[in-house]
Symmetry: C3
Subunit: 139 residues, 3 copies
């Protein structure tokens, strides 16, 4: 069994954004030499997500609006978490909706994705360095 | 290490439905010959889910009502995504609540599920052919 | 390839609670002898979650309040599922928000977690014995 590990680092200039990381994950799969296996891709921070959906800007705006309805950023004192001095209580909730991680099959050395599946990093508390973990196992 | 891959195809006649696929996943596990490992089961479409919960019709109606409250289908122009000509903006949001995938342990050649755990395909934009990927690794 | 299986049992005295299980999962990883691989940690019950977030009591109170807004426990007759004689319809919904499982990388024999990532058992229908499955594969 082979294993392979890589971190992807980001410094998103805005509080919230969605970034397509599919090609970076495919590059890691190719470099790993794994032909059949699984790849785990997870946010290493608890105010960010990794998820799979469509690379369509209208949809991303729909997500932004929807997540703000589900867990508004303001007023920041609506979250007890923000009594710690943080202002990111909403980001911890938004991340639960969008998820921490995805697990994707590797088949024939490629990400085994459906036709519209793209892997995204979802940032909900940006403007600082944060990272994603890619872990591959297989043969 | 062994690996095994299978697609399950569906053509759900309604826009939304939940379909129990536990026996199809167990069949794949049995045919794989894997006794100890993991099975990934994921929707290959971004308007569908694979999730684990109870096979109880009242609960499924509760999910249907709840998801419509969280992300109503109509009016379709409430979603910017639908400016692309689609009418499935809601389906992309519902799928994030219910999730893309499950990973289940394989122990002694069987799905290692709790007593009430059943695996479901959740369709949110049906009336066309769509598929689920089963990927198994182990020994 | 090595594999390892362990159940963690809980009897949470309240209906809802969040319990940090990170050290129990690390103990299982250490006992498995796996240095590079993946660990699946999943609730075996459909009214409970395993998720990763921050071990901060204000945040946990924010989750409790938010989940009650998203899926109120009362009135119990708002859920068709409760016609079965249960009163846990809300718990099946809350669990979908928080998720069934996490998959965590194992690197150098340790859980490969970000600096604030902690693994939690989320109970939404407690006051009885329930369990979590830990399944490890790797080398």
């Amino acid at each position: 069994m082979k294993s392979f590990r890589r971190e992807l680092w980001f410094n998103i200039p805005t509080r919230r954004a969605f970034k397509n990381i599919t090609s970076e994950v495919q590059t890691a799969v190719s470099e790993s030499g794994v032909k059949e296996g699984l790849v785990l891709v997870n946010a290493m921070h608890i105010t960010a997500s990794v998820f799979i959906n469509d690379d369509e800007s209208g949809l991303h705006q729909d997500y932004e609006k929807w997540l703000e309805w589900l867990a508004p950023h303001e007023p920041v004192n609506r979250y007890l978490h923000n009594r710690t001095g943080e202002d990111n209580g909403d980001a911890h909730l938004k991340r639960q909706i969008m998820g921490r991680e995805v697990v994707v099959a590797i088949t024939g050395g490629k990400l085994d994705l459906g036709p519209w599946e793209q892997i995204f990093y979802g940032e909900f508390d940006g403007r600082r360095k944060k990272r994603v973990l890619i872990k591959i196992i297989g043969e």
